[in-house]
């Protein structure tokens, strides 16, 4: 592949059929042009260097550009200049890198002028753009994108036909369009390039378009003909009156207003024997009184005149405020505006997709956190306030395992089932010791489990301390899956999504395909009837509590992987979990899924509308839920009829 590429390069960039083996010999062929380069003559040298495809050519060009090349007058060969000391200079051979010391006066410097250096710079880019290594070519593109420049259009255009990698070629074409859009020679070329940018969502394309559309706000007595007006600004609507008047003042089109502070200072300066312009100072404690005193002073000519509101209105009405494009050609700005709108639409779509992915991963977390709560609530009518602490327990289990098993992948494999066991055992213990004795007293259960919750939380604090403990994800979960510049999702979140899907499947299997599931469903829908049919409620309660708490433990590990493990982490999720259960509807896996989905989407949506403020987002979400309950008191997926109870 690379060889083919080189052959191609040779054919296309070989105006003079020189087949030279080393750099020095090519330089010697054009010794005069190298020694005293001119903007036109230097092209021949560059073409030959390019044609030879020598690996050290770019370095030479860079050195040439940096005025690091010297010529040994003794033999006429070119060298890179090294250190000088005691009248001696080190010469570095361009091909071999060998160093020789010669007297300083034996060499003469090659001093390309500014124009030549620009040509050299362009050539360097061309070299790098045609470099056999794709990474170098990508790097070159990145550096062009970072500092776009009209000179780069030419080399970029030339490198496109030979680009073997499709992705890089597309990137080159895109970059070329960006460059032409901004620096193109003719209007047609620029418009065409601008329209070519419509298909991307990349930030540099958008930046280029908005650069073209940059405006400057100006003011004039009448709208001038020779500017490309973006829009007219109406004072009081598009621009505040104060700002508009300030601009008039700045342009010297109106007298400055007297600010409150200036007014006060002027009055203070004019105090004589406790009066200002004959008015006693004590009475100057309202704005109106001060203004009157100032007007008196102004009439006496002691201070600049006071500009009244009417005068401000008149001045504003006499002038037109507008925003003008820096770009004078309306055809180009129109095209850019249209294209930017199209791009913004695509960006919007991409952002929506990104938001959806975010919401999906948040929903997975809520689902994992809430499903255990939902099961126990459905089966036993019990709200377990300590559920959050089971999440915490799972996370700390993961942390402890990592202290003993240094391999992150292995420790995760151990931690997940262990967290399930630890939290599940804690759940069963709690059910046996406490909840069992509080049957049919849901509110007391709620409070008793709250007691357990604060005890567990404090216990965790006493054992693990108050600072956050890390739970490190294995290396293969680092990074993110990038769809394009705007849409990406981290592998951890994908893993959590997979985990949630796994447990959804597992639960559905247990509930719908096993004897235990049948019994659980029976108890959920009609506890009295289930008991009378010989289903042992003790066993069911224990099993559901164990499973529900165990899943909370798993959720803890999952949450710990991307957030930190603290004794309060459970408390942070418990209210959201409640909301998920309440919104979704009790005793139904699909309900919890729907609740988690709704809350996840909602939270991300509200956050995206008000990105600066996640607190407000949560506030609005809770308000939404309170209102939602008005319309669906039993949640999205409600059990109907008598089974729902009253």
């Amino acid at each position: 592949m690379r060889r083919l590429f080189l052959a191609l390069a040779l054919c296309l960039f070989a105006p003079t059929a020189v087949v030279a083996q080393d750099l020095q010999s090519i330089l010697q062929t054009h010794a005069d042009e190298v020694a005293d380069p001119g903007r036109r003559s230097v092209g021949v040298v560059i073409d030959d260097l390019l044609a030879a495809g020598l690996p050290n050519a770019p370095d030479f060009l860079a050195a040439w550009q940096d005025r690091d090349i010297v010529r040994d007058t003794a033999d006429g060969r070119f060298y890179r200049a090294g250190r000088t000391s005691d009248g001696q200079i080190t010469l570095i051979d361009l091909d071999t890198g060998a160093e020789t010391m010669v007297p300083e006066d034996r060499v003469e410097e090659v001093r390309p002028n500014g124009g030549v250096r620009r040509v050299l710079g362009g050539a360097l880019v061309r070299f790098r753009l045609s470099d056999p290594a794709p990474e170098v070519r990508r790097e070159a593109l990145t550096s062009i994108a970072r500092r776009p420049d009209a000179d780069q259009i030419e080399p970029l255009t030339q490198s496109i036909p030979d680009e073997p990698v499709a992705a890089i070629r597309a990137e080159k074409e895109r970059l070329r369009n960006i460059l032409i859009a901004r620096f193109g020679e003719t209007t047609e070329a620029r418009v065409e390039a601008i329209e070519g940018l419509g298909g991307t969502v990349s930030s540099d394309a958008r930046a280029a378009l908005s650069q073209i559309l940059e405006t400057e706000e100006r003011v004039a007595a009448t709208l001038p003909d020779d500017v490309n007006v973006a829009r007219i600004l109406t004072p009081g609507e598009d621009i505040s009156r104060v700002e508009a008047y300030g601009r008039l003042v700045d342009e010297g089109l109106a007298p400055a207003r007297v600010s409150d502070a200036a007014l006060r200072d002027a009055l203070i300066a004019a105090i004589e024997d406790g009066t200002v312009a004959g008015v006693p100072v004590e009475t100057l404690d309202t704005d109106a009184a001060r203004r009157d005193a100032y007007v008196t002073l102004a009439e006496a000519g002691e201070v600049p005149p006071f500009v009244t509101e009417e005068e401000v209105d008149a001045a504003l009405a006499d002038h037109v405020f507008f925003a003008a494009y820096d770009e004078d050609d309306p055809a180009i700005t129109d095209a850019a505006r249209e294209t930017l709108e199209a791009v913004d639409l695509r960006v919007g779509a991409a952002q929506t997709a990104d938001l959806a992915l975010d919401a999906l991963s948040l929903a997975s977390i809520y689902f994992l956190a809430a499903i255990g709560l939902a099961i126990t609530f459905g089966v036993m009518g019990v709200i377990n306030m300590a559920h959050g602490e089971f999440i915490m327990m799972g996370a700390y289990t993961g942390y402890v395992v990592q202290q003993f098993v240094p391999d992150y992948t292995l420790s995760l494999v151990i931690a997940l089932p262990l967290a399930f066991l630890v939290a599940g055992a804690a759940g069963i213990a709690m059910e046996r010791l406490v909840i069992r004795h509080l049957y049919h007293r849901p509110l007391e259960t709620l409070l008793a489990t709250f007691g357990i919750s604060i005890a567990l939380q404090q216990l965790a604090k006493n054992i693990f301390g108050t600072q956050a403990r890390p739970l490190t994800a294995p290396g293969w979960l680092d990074g993110q899956w990038v769809l394009n510049e705007l849409v990406g999702i981290s592998y951890i979140r994908i893993a959590i999504f997979v985990l949630a899907a796994l447990f959804l499947g597992l639960l559905l299997f247990i509930l719908n395909r096993t004897r235990l599931g049948l019994e659980v469903r029976a108890v959920t829908q009609n506890p009295g009837m289930a008991a009378s049919m010989g289903i042992d409620p003790d066993r069911i309660n224990m099993a559901t509590f164990g499973i529900g708490s165990g899943i909370a433990g798993i959720a803890g590990v999952a949450i710990g992987l991307y957030a930190q493990v603290t004794s309060e982490m459970g408390a942070n999720y418990i209210v959201q979990s409640f909301m998920t259960v309440v919104v979704g509807g009790v005793g139904n896996v699909w309900g919890t899924l729907a609740g988690a989905g709704l809350i996840g989407v909602l939270q991300k949506l509200i956050e995206s509308l008000n990105p600066s403020n996640t607190l407000a987002a949560q506030t609005y979400m809770i308000l939404f839920i309170i209102v939602f309950i008005q319309f669906r008191p039993r949640g999205i997926v409600a059990l109907r009829g008598r089974a729902a109870g009253d």
Binding site: D287, H440, P442, G451
Partner: protein, 415 residues
């Protein structure tokens, strides 16, 4: 576990106000007198007087909580939101008026007398500088007026309770659903107040509330006594009000709503109206309690409104014994004082040889576990001791009736 089978089953008849009311009020009067005397003799510190004054406010909130939970059966996990709102409302005036007292004389020193706007702007930048603002938000519209803010102490918690309660009860959200919803309400409020642009100084909250504008010269020792008296008076009046409300037919209907609200509906009572009445009235009283509490605490911030605070309120009532007003008051006093004793380092550490139990670390574990034990073994709470003393146990044939309608779940399933 037989004990847990029986819940408060108060014998009747009940006179307009039970004798326990007069006992409670007498004890409160004696307590106030003793504290006043001891404080003026310098036997107890000003800080402790404030702690006692604050405890009286918490007791008032707990009594209100008992009416809404113990009597009406609504386990509100959001009543401390009303408490905090009451505190915020009075705090706004305290802060405004005090800042004005500082700022206005300073401005008066300038060559020109200040305008009203200048004074207000100066107060605004003093108060809101900490959140990077200087303009007064709309909610501070009445902050210059003590009368208006006092009215808001009643109106804001009352209106919030009215609107929230109307929405919640109307859609017949009951039981744990309702509890979670009230918790969501207080969480939403707390999160909202945590924002810097909420207009109430974000997580800085309102501070310096212990300084009463116009009484800067009065020493805190005296002011702490004033507030102790005010809190005791508020508690006495609140207690009387609630004792009156839960006596007679009103109490009867409220307890009926608690035990079987469907049945109450079939008697023709508008259950939602009664719930709303209890919820709103208790919210207002809780707001007043908060308005008295925070000037003694000196500072209020959104953390005070966090859901955990309301849960503690329920814990106090449960430990004291719900369904009787004095039980709630005793529970609040006992647990909150114990809590400040333990967490304040007052309790001696226990050296177990291998491990030293420091109560600052272990108090919450103890509280949590003892709370579980109370729920399991003594559902009547401390108030249950009174029954033991009176030894007037009532034969209970049915057992399971209480705030939560136990066996109903099973009964509903049948034809």
């Amino acid at each position: 576990m037989a004990v847990s089978e029986s819940l408060p089953l108060r014998p009747t008849p009940r006179p307009a106000t039970a004798p326990s009311t007069w006992v409670f009020l007498g004890a409160l009067a004696v307590f106030t007198l003793v504290v006043t005397v001891m404080a003026s003799q310098g036997m107890i510190s000003t800080a402790f007087v404030k702690t006692l004054g604050k405890t009286l406010c918490l007791m008032l909130a707990a009594v209100a909580m008992d009416v809404v939970w113990g009597y009406t059966g609504i386990l509100s996990l959001g009543h401390m939101a009303f408490f905090g709102l009451g505190g915020y409302m009075i705090g706004m005036w305290l802060m405004y008026a005090r800042t004005e007292n500082i700022v206005a004389p300073a401005l008066a020193q300038q060559p020109l007398p200040p305008t009203q706007d200048e004074i207000r702007d100066a107060i605004g930048s003093q108060i809101f500088g900490v959140v990077g603002a200087s303009d007064f938000p709309l909610v501070w519209m009445f902050s210059h007026s003590l009368v208006a803010q006092l009215a808001l102490v009643v109106l804001v918690p009352g209106l919030l309770a009215l609107v929230f309660g109307w929405l919640a009860f109307r859609s017949r959200v009951t039981g744990v659903y309702l509890s979670i919803l009230t918790q969501a309400m207080t969480l939403a409020l707390a999160l909202y107040l945590f924002q810097n642009d909420s207009g109430l100084r974000g997580n800085n909250g309102l501070s310096g509330l212990q300084n009463i504008p116009g009484y800067e010269q009065v020493p805190q020792a005296t002011i702490s006594l004033w507030f102790l008296w005010a809190s005791a008076l508020a508690l006495a009046l609140g207690y009387l009000l609630f004792a009156w409300v839960v006596s007679g037919k009103m109490g009867s209907v409220l307890r009926a709503v608690r035990d079987d609200e469907a049945r109450v509906r079939f008697l023709g009572y508008h259950v939602e109206g009664f719930k709303l009445f209890a919820f709103t009235l208790t919210a207002v009283v809780t707001g007043i309690a908060g308005a008295l509490y925070y000037p003694q605490a000196g500072i209020i911030n959104p953390a005070e409104i966090a859901p955990i605070a309301s849960i503690y309120l329920a814990v106090w009532v449960a430990i004291g014994g719900r369904g009787r007003l004095y039980g709630a008051a005793i529970g609040a006093a006992l647990v909150s004082l114990l809590s400040s004793w333990f967490t304040g380092g007052g309790a001696p550490d226990i050296n177990l040889g291998v491990y030293t139990v420091q109560w600052t670390d272990w108090w919450l574990v103890l509280l949590g576990l003892s709370f579980v034990c109370v729920t399991l073994f003594a559902p009547k709470g401390i108030g249950g001791l009174v029954d033991l003393v009176q030894a007037r146990r009532v034969p209970d044939r049915q057992g399971d009736y209480g705030p939560d309608k136990g066996a109903k779940r099973q009964e509903e399933g049948r034809e």
